[in-house]
């Protein structure tokens, strides 16, 4: 690198140019010291890359949120209610078709059955107690999108996206857990090629029918006439 010589007047105006003290500056003296510096640098770089790789792999949503299975205030088993008894998702999550949020059922919805069924169950004690006192049940949120994401269940259900595509086979879960990272990558994957993931209009959504398996649900819909144009621009989801 060529350094331009400053004009004479400027040099004259400077007092004896003193090199500012630098970190590890003393090691500059010998070749061995330089080698040690290089080795330290190489080790540093290796460590940083390792740390970066570790963070990149373990620090992502797929490792932090997938498998999240919090304990709920009432031991509600989706397996029992959906797979064994055959209830429909929409019986409780009534916003899934009509609103942005699928929503959780009110205690009243539970009590529609449980005022008659299993009235002496110990597991249902918290349900009966809170209902009698008029207290709400603080369910623990499993699937959580960031606040700047505006996901609309209604849009996806009406486009024939199976619940299981995002939520997994909830009907097989005793305790609900998250199966997908629900990252932006997940959204974009489907929004880029929606036809791979939506169900044919002729085949009604299964709403977690116990007999379905993912390969059936996610098969390609061969319907050219359907207008499936999910947004790929920012304001489609962020606003």
């Amino acid at each position: 690198m060529k350094i331009e010589r400053p004009p004479a007047g400027e040099v004259a105006s400077r007092a004896s140019p003193v090199e500012p003290p630098r970190l590890l500056g003393v090691l500059r003296e010998t070749k061995a010291a330089r080698m040690r510096l290089l080795a330290a640098l190489a080790m540093g770089v290796a460590l940083v890359s390792l740390a970066g790789a570790a963070l990149g792999y373990y620090g992502t949503d797929s490792n932090i949120v997938v498998g999240y299975r919090p304990k709920q205030p009432v031991d509600f088993s989706h397996k029992l209610h959906v797979a064994d008894l055959g209830l429909d998702c929409r019986l409780c999550h009534l916003g899934a078709e009509a609103g942005a949020n699928a929503g959780l059922p009110t205690t009243q919805t539970c009590m529609n059955c449980h005022s008659k069924v299993r009235t002496d169950s110990v597991a249902l004690l918290p349900l009966r107690a809170t209902y009698a006192e008029g207290r709400a049940i603080p369910w623990v949120r499993v699937h959580n999108l960031p606040d700047f994401v505006y996901f609309d269940h209604r849009a996806h259900v009406s486009a024939q996206v199976e619940c299981a595509y995002c939520h997994g086979q909830v009907e097989q879960m005793v305790q609900v857990e998250q199966v997908k990272p629900l990252s932006m990558g997940d959204c974009i994957e489907c929004h880029q090629e929606p036809r791979k993931y939506v169900t044919s209009l002729s085949q009604p959504l299964t709403y977690a029918n116990q007999n379905h398996d993912a390969s059936v649900v996610l098969k390609t819909a061969h319907e050219t006439e359907r207008d499936i144009s999910p947004p790929l621009h920012c304001s489609g989801c962020h606003r």
Partner: protein, 948 residues
């Protein structure tokens, strides 16, 4: 290894330091990794399922609100049981789905955590049961004196149920005195109708039938109970596609919203207004054969005599010829703050011009209760004489807004018992022995009746947040009834709502928001001239002294919205001042006293004096100083106390709205007002264009049509010929899009956050000054200069043609704002939401991100509404939303329908058609940005006879 010079070694050393830091940083990050657990969040569904409630979908409830002596139908958006946004009810004929800034801001008032929270007796905290006992005891004690010792002061009295309760009270105790008091009410108009017709009547104007209107300080498009109806009517006659156009003349001392958009505006001293009206009457009679009673003509000629003929004769003649040419299709209207006799003369003139029954009708007054400052004088006299011992103030803040010569505060303290029902612990609450928190109209049952006698049920959107009570509760307790307001309102309407049984009819009334539409039973009586003539004769001649004119405040109206931060920060339509008020003075007066904006003057009147900062206002009459009432509160919320100057002390009972100034002095101090616009000249660049139309046959003015923009869909057309600059759009935008307030200091630093601002420019000289207003928001440029410079990719174009703003990507470089030629982008310099209390947060629109510090924001064309519209359309099996299915918040609020929004891809959509207008142009079109907002130029329908 090459031999390195010092510089390279220096580089090495820096690199290793950086690496060390990197290493340290990564290790720290790694050490946090095991702690990466999701914070536990809860979903708390309700215990019982609410009717019609679907998670994530708002519900809309019809209700109504009384304001400014009128009532308006509302549709309130409610998310999960809490109201977030107010829209107009399209079924209500008064506002037909539109709103004003005051109506929009009501939802903020509901959540104001500084509202009164408990019953107070002489500074001690009590409960409603104690207040109820006190009222019942009072009720018992009144029986022995026939109620003679009780006085009732009502506020915004438009409720049939309250009226029925007052009647019940009077039936039980015949001598109870009942008064109604609002700073700005129609008491002088009532007096005028008594003069002209012998009874109290309410004039109803049909602005949509008016071809020629002459207004005398009548700001009907501004701070007026008729504003929404007037704006709609005015705009309907300015639709050039209809081929007709109205012509409005305004004669006023201070530039108002109405004067600004008129076709001709003449500056006139407050004291001269009556003379100009008389001159107009005289010319109409002498030159155009309009027949008026002889005594009136004699009086009119005498009053008109004092007028400066060189200035007025041609103007008056031109107006008279226009009025005479539009008999039955014209209107002469005098402001509600003008003396009763002037208003009565206008009623006579309208009758003579054949307008009564055509462009105006009269209705029976809602109630006969005495009102105005005279009523307040009767109250204070009663207390002083010792006849009135108990005072019940049902709403309002009479101690603050009473004229300065009424010692109401002292008298209320002196009375045996004084009770105040109010939203805030304000001046009146402090003066009274008891204070009862009032329920907000959005949290209580009730009913209201509009001026045109359209009745609506008021239904609560939420249970009272702070345990408020209604006026009906207080009156019921006094009467010893144990009914709820809900039952009381039902019993009022029991006999009227009978179709298919009461329950069905009641539910229908609640659902529709109106009980019945306006009927045709007007009380159009022939006017009587004698009293008017007699009083005209006693009008004082034009004086040469200064006058102080009292006008409502654009921010707090009469003080009631004193704690509403949205309204304080919404720039006043003319002077663009926020957070505070000032005295509007003419440039001539400013030169005389060497004053500039913000210098304080001391005004003297009625033996009292007040110091107030000046606003040098173009178009202001030289000898009229206009001040606004409603600021400078001493008690009340923190925002109310912090702002402005109280000018009530200068008023008197006999001169409530205009008083002779006893002296103007320059004070040494300066209080600069926080204004959002400081430059009002266009400097020849014409961002706002106006076309002049002088021939009645000329329909669409010639011009260059705008080219269509690219492939994207959405676009907006704003017809400036219909924009009054009222500010409803800006307030609707603030409510819809979670826009924060920055406070007075923030506005001083130019950090106000409004996505939609109203730029205002002047046209003409002082005597004929007109205003030009232009709403400016993000222009959604097709070649957006902001997008090209964003280093983070946080703003990008969507295939719909919108310039998307992605808050979560924004790093706050502010390059985009610097590159925006319209200054449409706003930056969050602070975390404006951090300190906001929890009740206030209930207002936030859950469909829009609440922006944090360091993030840029801007108008998104209400993309949340666009997305909802698209999803709706898809669910209904439509390809794209129907034209008109998506309304932006500003468009939905705009009282004149000046904003058109829609899909350009649809060639038949309203926006596609409106854009074809020859008046269309784009802002800074020479930059080639392809703005998606197109403006249509203003139309001035000038009368060629008026000298320029």
């Amino acid at each position: 290894m090459t031999k390195s010079n010092g510089r390279q070694e220096g580089l090495d050393a820096r690199c290793s330091r950086r690496n060390l830091l990197k290493l340290g940083g990564s290790l720290t990050a790694l050490s946090w990794l095991p702690a990466c657990r999701r914070p536990e969040e809860h979903i708390v569904p309700a215990v019982n399922q609410a009717e019609y409630e679907v998670p994530g979908r708002p519900l809309h409830y019809a209700t109504a609100l009384a304001l400014m002596g009128n009532a308006f139908g509302l549709l309130v958006e409610s998310h999960d049981g809490h109201p977030t946004k107010i829209e107009g009810n399209p079924k209500h004929p008064e506002n037909a789905g539109k709103t004003s800034s005051y109506l929009q801001a009501q939802v903020l008032e509901l959540y104001d955590s500084e509202r009164s929270r408990c019953v107070i007796e002489n500074g001690q905290r009590r409960d409603w049961a104690a207040a109820k006992t006190m009222l019942a005891t009072l009720g018992h004690s009144l029986g022995t004196v026939n109620g003679r010792t009780l006085a009732l002061v009502m506020n915004d009295h438009r409720s049939p149920t309250v009226r029925a309760h007052v009647k019940a009270l009077r039936d039980k105790f015949p001598e109870v005195q009942v008064y109604a008091y609002d700073t700005f009410d129609s008491s002088l108009t009532d007096a005028a109708t008594v003069l002209a017709f012998g009874r109290k009547l309410e004039p109803i104007y049909h602005y949509d039938r008016v071809g020629v209107l002459v207004g005398f300080d009548a700001d009907v498009l501004g701070l007026h109970g008729d504003a929404l109806r007037a704006a709609r009517g005015w705009a309907s006659m300015r639709d050039t596609t209809e081929g007709c156009c109205n012509r409005w003349y305004m004669i006023e001392p201070s530039l108002t919203v109405t004067g600004g958009v008129a076709d001709h505006r003449f500056r006139c001293e407050r004291a001269e207004l009556a003379s100009v009206l008389c001159a107009l009457t005289a010319v109409l009679s002498a030159d155009f054969g309009i027949i008026l009673p002889e005594p009136v003509l004699r009086a009119v000629q005498r009053v008109a005599g004092g007028l400066d003929l060189s200035r007025w004769s041609k103007v008056v003649h031109a107006m008279a010829s226009d009025l005479a040419g539009h008999q039955g299709r014209s209107l002469v209207i005098v402001g509600e703050r003008e003396p009763a006799v002037t208003q009565a003369l206008a009623m006579l003139l309208n009758h003579a011009l054949g307008n009564q029954g055509q462009t105006m009708d009269f209705r029976k007054a809602f109630d006969e209760v005495p009102s105005g400052s005279a009523a307040l004088r009767a109250l204070t006299d009663g207390i002083t004489r010792g006849q009135t011992k108990q005072v019940l103030v049902l709403g309002g803040n009479a101690v603050y807004d009473a004229p300065g010569d009424l010692p109401l505060e002292r008298l209320l303290q002196q009375a045996e018992l004084s009770v105040h029902l109010g939203l805030y612990v304000d001046e009146t609450a402090q003066a009274c022995h008891w204070h009862i928190p009032q329920a907000h109209p959005l949290e209580s049952w009730g009913d209201v009746m509009s001026r045109d006698q359209v009745a609506s049920i008021v239904q609560p959107l939420i249970a009272p947040l702070f345990g408020g009570r209604t006026a009906v509760d207080v009156l019921s307790a006094l009467l010893g009834n144990d009914t709820t307001t809900y039952r009381a309102v039902q019993s009022t309407w029991q006999s009227i709502l009978t179709a298919n049984g009461f329950d069905a009819a009641w539910r229908r009334a609640l659902h529709q928001g109106v009980i019945h539409s306006a009927s045709d039973d007007y009380e159009n009586l022939p006017p009587r001239a004698d009293e008017v003539a007699q009083l005209l004769g006693s009008l004082p001649s034009i004086e040469n002294s200064y006058r102080i004119d009292f006008a409502p405040d654009a921010h707090s109206y009469d003080g009631r919205f004193g704690n509403n931060r949205w309204l304080h920060e919404l720039p006043e339509p003319i002077g663009k001042a926020t957070w505070g008020n000032g005295a509007k003075i003419s440039s001539q007066l400013a030169r005389k006293f060497e004053l500039t904006d913000g210098d304080e003057i001391e005004l003297r009147a009625a033996g009292r004096h007040v110091k107030v900062p000046v606003i040098v206002s173009p178009g202001q009459a030289d000898r009229t100083i206009t001040v606004s009432l409603g600021q400078g509160r001493k008690v009340g919320g923190s925002a109310a106390r912090a702002t402005g100057t109280d000018l009530h002390p200068l008023r008197t009972v006999s001169a409530p709205y205009s008083i002779v100034c006893e002296g103007v002095e320059r004070a040494a101090s300066r209080v600069p007002l926080a204004r959002t616009q400081l430059e009002f000249a266009m400097h020849g660049r014409a961002p706002v264009k106006a076309v002049v139309r002088e021939s009645p046959k000329q329909s669409e003015p010639k011009g260059q049509r705008v080219s269509r923009v690219g492939a994207g869909k959405y676009a907006m057309v704003i017809d400036l010929a219909k924009c009054t600059g009222c500010g409803a759009c800006a307030m609707a935008c603030q409510a819809e899009n979670n826009i924060s307030c920055v406070g007075e200091s923030g506005v001083h630093e130019g950090r106000h956050m409004h996505w939609l601002r109203l730029d205002r420019y002047y046209e003409g000289n002082d005597d004929t000054l007109l205003a030009m207003t232009q709403p400016v928001m993000c222009q959604q440029c097709e070649n957006a200069p902001c997008e090209a410079v964003c280093p983070a990719g946080a703003t990008a174009h969507s295939p719909d043609g919108l310039s998307d703003m992605v808050y979560n990507r924004c790093v706050g470089s502010r390059y985009c704002a610097n590159n925006c030629p319209f200054k449409a982008r706003r930056f969050n310099y602070f975390d404006y939401w951090g300190a906001v209390e929890s009740t206030r947060r209930l207002q936030l629109n859950p469909d829009v991100t609440v922006r944090s510090r360091g993030v840029m924001e801007k108008c998104s064309f209400c993309v949340q509404r666009i997305n909802q519209g698209k999803i709706d359309a898809k669910q209904q099996g439509l390809g794209s939303p129907k034209d008109g299915a998506i309304l932006t918040a500003c468009q939905q609020a705009c009282p004149t329908g000046a904003i058109v929004f829609g899909d350009l891809a649809d060639r038949d959509s309203k926006v596609s058609n409106t854009m074809k207008s020859a008046r269309g142009y784009r802002l800074l079109d020479e930059l080639g940005l392809g703005n998606r907002v197109v403006y249509l130029s203003i139309i001035r329908n000038r009368n060629a006879e008026v000298p320029t």
